[in-house]
């Protein structure tokens, strides 16, 4: 199998493509493949050159933490739940493009937290929520902050003004559980999501937690009127 990786060395600026030959079990995930490649005696590219080991981030290895988000054959996905059997004879790996690249497939997603902090995304005063919201809240609270929804979004540029689907879902979580009517979160929603979303809903296609962003939006929009 041909493996192409868009790489970046931690000490250098530019990115470059590197090709590898890989043969491993088809039921391996991309994460299992990366680990397999990295812990051979040498890591050798398809030109036969010794190259630095591939950096990528992981923690849970079972789609619960979001660390290993990357772009696999052009689609933003988690490496730990994307299997070689579904990828064909060539696999292309790229780091998420909407975040600063640290090295190889490792990106700095701390901008996500900064935006949530700057918009005071927390429950000011907790109130038990209406019965019907429980299931939706449970799913929304599973957001991994992996950034896949931001990667795929045509409107998200880097989080300067538009904060993307994960922000809309956090707004929903906060709004439906706040004791006082929280105007500020509605305002932030409007400013950093509502006014910028062109409704492609690609975010929902790639979300590993299947969060129904559309219904979070509907509830936030209804609330504002």
């Amino acid at each position: 199998m041909k493996l192409r990786i868009l790489r970046k060395l931690p000490t250098e600026e530019g990115q470059f493509w590197e090709e590898f030959e890989y043969s491993g079990p088809a039921d391996y995930s991309v994460a299992a493949m990366l680990e397999d490649l990295n812990y051979r005696d040498d890591i050798i590219n398809s030109k036969g050159e010794h190259v630095p080991r591939i950096s990528w981030a992981c923690s849970c290895l079972q789609s619960k933490c979001g660390a290993c988000a990357m772009v696999i054959n052009g689609t933003p996905a988690l490496a730990c739940e994307t299997f070689l059997r579904d990828l064909g004879s060539s696999v292309t790996l790229q780091p998420l493009s909407k975040f600063p690249v640290i090295s190889d497939l490792v990106v700095d997603r701390s901008g996500i937290q900064e935006n949530l902090l700057n918009t005071s995304s927390f429950i000011k005063e907790y109130k038990e929520s209406p019965q019907g919201e429980h299931g939706h809240q449970y799913t929304a609270a599973k957001c991994l902050k992996c950034g896949l929804c931001l990667e795929v979004c045509p409107n998200y540029k880097g989080g300067e003004h538009f904060y993307g689907a994960l922000f809309a879902n956090d707004c929903y979580l906060i709004a439906t559980r706040s004791g006082v009517f929280d105007d500020s979160i509605s305002e932030e929603y409007k400013k950093h999501f509502g006014s910028g979303c062109s409704k492609s809903f690609s975010c929902m296609d790639v979300c590993p937690m299947n969060i129904p962003t559309l219904s979070s939006m509907a509830k936030m929009n209804r609330r504002r009127s």
Binding site: S55, I123, K145, L173
Partner: protein, 565 residues
């Protein structure tokens, strides 16, 4: 109000449930918390906890009580945990659930709107509160939002892309930690009035486990080498039901059996429900150590059958359904799942007192890296409880210490109330460590440091399994001695994160300490089973303590209950 003069500064290593709870509790008391971790909290191992969190709320109307929770926890731990410690934990549990609920944790509810409680192993009543099958994740989400409130106030400061290197410790007191900053590539000292370790269990000792790759035990190993006492390392919980896959051992939560799932093996074309045969109706829900050992004893492939749960699969345990389908290609509605025990939780860790302080003044430990409540075996649902409880308790203990404790115990003369300047105090140590650190880069070696970790893990899995004996343990110790010696002489491929290269030595030392603790406990108790000493010995009903002094490992039994108060 970022840093007010005189405000206590607390350094927290780790940002999972126990670390965040500690940070929030510090901030609530007006202390300044710096939370250091390689990644953001969403990546913490805490998000993987599925099953639940115990509290005697008696929402199920079965007559549950705090006393029963205490009794079950002590009994589940084979009477090795301190009764006072367990009492503190269980008494606080209902309040902890209310606190989490008020932060917005999305608990699963009963029809009457109260929190639902499920059955878990070793419990006399349905006591485990849960959030579907993602309890840890739901709690993490709530804590992240709550921590953000204090971040906005400047009371909690997060530093990611930072890794623990070592403690800044002198004369039995901790003044902060040396931190490897991945962005600057430097070792940087962070001084603090107290340091709280919240680094999770030592998974890396065993290679692939059910847990996160981020929890490697390095911090515990390093601080052990710097004088911190560790406790009960030999008690390692095997989760009975994990599914083997290419990348890891996937946990199949105890909730599967709590809801009615049954374990069996096949013999002559029929199913043998061995747990029920041995222990009756509640057999599948015996404590984890018992179930794992029984599975080991069958010497056969064991299966978990959940097909009889029908619709309950989709309503109560959808995450289990998804994991088995995605990673094992198994539809649990129709098929049984082949399961085997895997390392899951470490009952042992830093020895801590009632305020979660180690034997080193100013150094605290919380969550899984601390050892206090679980004795020889932890009950499901008690670790999330202990994570939250210990985070709160450490913060309270630090707050209660007199403000001048730092300068008093340091023995440094200071101008009126000013804290001493520690940069001079640790200058030599820091320079030496920086020298060693940069020494790691002077190599063209392609040797992957992971090989050494993998070899040690192989030893640990072989010689420190579910059933142990003196000879095996002795072999393991000899292997580790060899690896420790190697680690001091080999240079590694520098194209991996420097953290992996500087951490390997202390991880190996911790592995050796664990084997020594297991060798010295010549009895069987809870998760520690010795085929050469199969009986429980009343004489050994005390925690194992181990300390390190320049290559010497000193083991003793804590008969005086030194860490019980």
């Amino acid at each position: 109000m970022s840093e007010v003069k005189g405000m206590k500064k607390i350094l927290i290593i780790g940002s999972g449930i126990s670390g965040m709870t500690a940070a929030i509790s510090c901030a609530q008391k007006g202390m300044h918390a710096i939370m250091v971790s390689p990644f953001m909290s969403e990546r913490a191992q805490s998000v993987m906890a599925e099953g639940g969190i115990n509290a005697a709320l008696d929402n199920m109307g079965e007559g549950d009580s705090v006393e029963k929770h205490i009794e079950d926890t002590l009994k589940g731990g084979n009477m090795l945990a301190g009764e006072l410690a367990v009492r503190d934990l269980c008494e606080k549990a209902p309040e902890i659930i209310r606190w989490l609920e008020n932060l917005g944790t999305v608990f699963s509810l009963k029809a009457d709107g109260r929190i639902d409680q499920r059955a878990f192993g070793g419990q006399s009543c349905r006591r485990t509160c849960y959030c579907g099958a993602s309890t840890g994740k739901q709690i993490v989400t709530a804590l992240i939002m709550e921590a953000r409130r204090y971040e906005a106030m400047g009371l909690i400061e997060r530093r990611i892309w930072n890794d623990f290197h070592s403690g800044l410790i002198r004369d039995g007191r901790c003044y902060g930690a040396l931190i490897y900053n991945e962005a600057s590539g430097q070792l940087e000292p962070v001084y603090a009035d107290a340091v709280i370790m919240a680094t999770g269990g030592q998974n890396a000792l065993f290679g692939k486990t059910t847990g996160s790759t981020q929890c490697d035990g390095y911090a515990a190993g390093r601080l052990f080498m710097q004088g911190a006492m560790l406790k009960n390392l030999e008690f390692i919980q095997y989760h009975p039901t994990t599914l083997e896959t290419g990348q890891k051992k996937m946990l199949v939560s105890e909730a599967a059996r709590g809801e009615g799932g049954r374990l069996y093996y096949e013999e002559d074309g029929r199913r043998v429900y061995f747990m029920e045969d041995m222990y009756g109706e509640k057999g599948n829900l015996m404590p984890r150590d018992v179930v794992s050992r029984c599975m080991y004893d069958t010497k056969r492939q064991v299966y978990l059958d959940m097909t009889m749960l029908g619709e309950k699969i989709d309503s109560k345990i959808p995450e289990i359904r998804d994991v088995c389908l995605k990673y094992g290609g198994i539809d649990i509605h129709k098929e049984s799942v082949p399961v085997s025990p895997s390392v899951h939780f470490f009952m042992g860790g830093f020895a801590v007192d009632a305020g979660h302080m180690t034997n080193i003044e100013g150094l605290y430990a919380v969550g899984e890296c601390a050892s206090r409540y679980h004795g020889a075996n932890r009950l499901g649902g008690n670790s999330l409880l202990a994570a939250v409880y210990s985070g709160m308790t450490a913060a309270e203990a630090i707050y209660a210490k007199s403000d001048s404790a730092v300068s008093e115990s340091s023995g440094i003369e200071t101008a009126s109330g000013e804290k001493p300047d520690f940069s001079e105090y640790f200058k030599e140590y820091i320079e030496e460590e920086r020298g060693k650190f940069f020494g790691l880069f002077g190599s063209e070696s392609k040797f992957p440091v992971m090989y050494l970790r993998d070899m040690a893990a192989e030893t640990m899995n072989r010689d420190l399994g579910i059933v142990r004996d003196e000879e095996q343990l002795q072999n393991g110790i000899a292997d580790l001695d060899y690896y420790i010696d190697l680690a001091e002489h080999i240079r590694y491929d520098r194209s991996v994160l420097p953290y992996f290269n500087y951490s390997v030595g202390a991880i190996l030392v911790l592995a050796k300490a664990t084997l020594i603790c297991a060798r010295e406990r010549r009895e069987s108790r809870g998760a520690h089973y010795r085929s050469d000493y199969p009986e429980t010995s009343e004489d050994m009903r005390a925690a194992t303590l181990i300390s390190y002094d320049d290559g010497e490992f000193n083991v003793s039994l804590d008969r005086e209950g030194r860490f019980e108060r």
